[in-house]
């Protein structure tokens, strides 16, 4: 009997997390005008960024990195990195609100873990965004008349992209938990976001960075989040896919542990000192 109790509890926790995930998906799909707005923002950003990289690729200035750009330019790579970045739900704002406004207390009295519920909901939110923005991206890609990548690249991106987004949600969850210590999470958010853009290779593959900087970027969770899925569009390979998948799973586990640690430390502080 005692051994079945934790298992039932675990199953209940998982079931509640899944419900929160489904809620996130449904809520986002129900707010379809906002989802369309995000897709529009994605298309506008892509119009600007593809114009930039098409210009650089077309010039091919001798003696510069332009010679190492892929034949079709970087539009497909940027398409994936932007897709992931814009799909990551703003969990940090929800956590900040709950922590700052003292709304944690009622949640803590409930039997389901607050943080897991919030993360699951944000994951659902992100999945709906991935679907909405991804659809817009595919339609734009077909209409653009650009050379399409091999079909296997889509498969790799379809696996690595959502996991990269999940890594992003965990990074922002860690940022949101900073609200236990700072009044507003905007400054840590802005800093983390920009480090993410830089080390993740949002605007250009980190392979174009100097070797020493590439060495730093590639071992960061930011590269696992956006560079690895994006790179599959320009250099798809089964070996790289397997290695990237392993790196992403390792980062998912490491970041989950980090978020749990920050949560416990923050909770201890709130229970001891209040908000």
């Amino acid at each position: 009997m005692p051994s079945t109790m934790p298992r039932a509890e675990f199953r209940g926790t998982l079931s509640a997390a899944f419900s929160a995930f489904a809620l996130g998906v449904r809520r986002n799909l129900a707010n379809w005008p906002i989802l369309m707005g995000r897709a529009l923002f994605y298309l506008v950003a892509m119009a600007v960024l593809s114009a930039l990289w098409d210009k650089v690729s077309a010039q091919r200035v001798a003696g510069t990195l332009a010679s190492s750009l892929p034949h079709g330019g970087l539009t497909l790579y940027i398409g994936v990195t932007e897709w992931i970045t814009l799909s990551v739900a703003a969990i940090h704002l929800r956590l900040e609100d709950d922590i700052r406004l003292g709304m944690l207390e009622p949640h803590l009295l409930r039997p389901k873990p607050y943080l897991l519920q919030k993360i699951a909901e944000a994951m659902g939110d992100s999945v709906a965004r991935l679907l909405g923005i991804g659809t817009a991206a595919l339609i734009a890609l077909v209409l653009s008349g650009r050379t399409l990548p091999p079909p296997i690249a889509y498969f790799y991106v379809a696996i690595l992209g959502p996991i990269g987004t999940a890594i992003g949600v965990l990074i922002y969850a860690a940022v949101g938990l900073a609200a236990f210590w700072v009044r507003r999470v905007l400054p840590p958010y802005i800093i983390t976001q920009k480090i993410w853009f830089l080390l993740g290779g949002l605007f250009a593959p980190i392979g174009l960075y100097p070797a020493w900087f590439f060495g730093i970027a590639i071992v960061s969770p930011f590269a696992a989040s956006i560079f690895m899925p994006g790179n599959m569009m320009i250099a798809p390979s089964a070996t790289a896919f397997a290695a990237d998948l392993a790196a992403q799973i390792a980062w998912l586990i490491a970041l989950s542990a980090l978020v749990a640690l920050i949560w416990r430390a923050g909770l201890r502080k709130v229970l001891r000192e209040g908000v």
Binding site: P33, I34, G37, L40, F41, V44, A45, A47, V48, A51, L52, D54, K55, V56, Q59, V61, T64, L65, A66, V182, R183, R184, L186, P187, P188, Y189, I190, I191, Q193, K194, I195, F197, L198, F203, A204, L208, Y209
Partner: protein, 256 residues
């Protein structure tokens, strides 16, 4: 009208400075944000040298000007940012009973703390990376005034959509973000449809590209384009807001 505006915005600025820690964190966060942006562009130009004839100095001018435009708008006209929400929440009811114009009162409602970070970085960027001399200062100031007028006027037009559409709150913000996005990239990349958009709906062309062109080679024709655009966008913003306010007075505005 100007003394009232000055008094209102002075209160808004004092309010934004009241929470020192929050103010410092927000401003410092924006400084770091801008530094990362500069690093990204620096690395880009180390690798690719130029894009369509634009080098690091030109992009530094562009970034310096857009940061200062956003900074001046945020500090002195910060109400533009949430104007659509203010309209949808019916908060201008109280202003309608007062003798002063509604639009300036709305613009002076808020001063944005993060804008001070942009102000510091914009000045620093123009002083260090933009290869400008003291001789260029009048041209920078003219560009800033014209760019700020177009930026705030466009934001007012986007916010005025709230007089017609309930979903205008996020849409107005999105349009302002699009405008900033267009304003953060070298003008040489725009061609065809993107160039049309950059000089009409999301007027990055008049906010930063024309001022940068003016700095690269001052001419009366560019000056005329900048001043003319500033006047046209300001007039259009005033008209859009006025027409919207007429609807508001009749009670035809959606609520949010």
């Amino acid at each position: 009208m100007i003394p009232t505006y000055a008094a209102n915005i002075a209160i808004a600025i004092r309010t934004s400075l009241m929470d020192r820690t929050n103010f410092i964190l927000n401003s410092a966060g924006m400084v770091l944000n801008d530094i990362f942006f500069l690093i990204l562009w620096y690395m880009f130009f180390v690798g690719f040298r130029q894009v369509g004839g634009w080098g690091l100095h030109d992009v530094a001018r562009l970034l310096g000007i857009i940061m200062l435009v956003v900074a001046i708008s945020g500090v002195f006209f910060g109400g533009y940012r949430d104007m659509a929400a203010t309209i949808l929440r019916g908060e201008i009811d109280a202003l309608l009973t007062q003798p002063k114009s509604v639009l300036p009162r709305l613009l002076a409602r808020e001063s944005i703390a993060t804008a001070w970070g942009d102000l510091v970085m914009g000045i620093w960027m123009l002083c260090t990376f933009a290869a400008l001399s003291l001789y260029d200062l009048p041209f920078v100031l003219i560009g800033l005034v014209c760019g700020t007028v177009v930026y705030v006027a466009s934001a007012v037009v986007y916010a005025s959509l709230a007089f017609w559409f309930a979903g205008a709150r996020s849409f107005a913000r999105d349009l302002t973000d699009f405008m900033l996005l267009f304003s953060s990239y070298p003008g040489s990349i725009y061609a065809g449809m993107t160039k049309v958009v950059a000089y009409t709906l999301l007027p990055a062309g008049f906010i930063v590209l024309a001022p940068v062109a003016f700095l690269r080679g001052p001419s009366f024709s560019t000056l005329g384009v900048m001043v003319g655009a500033a006047l046209c966008y300001a007039a259009f913003a005033a008209l859009a807001f006025h027409l919207g306010l007429r609807r508001y007075r009749r009670g035809l505005v959606p609520t949010g």
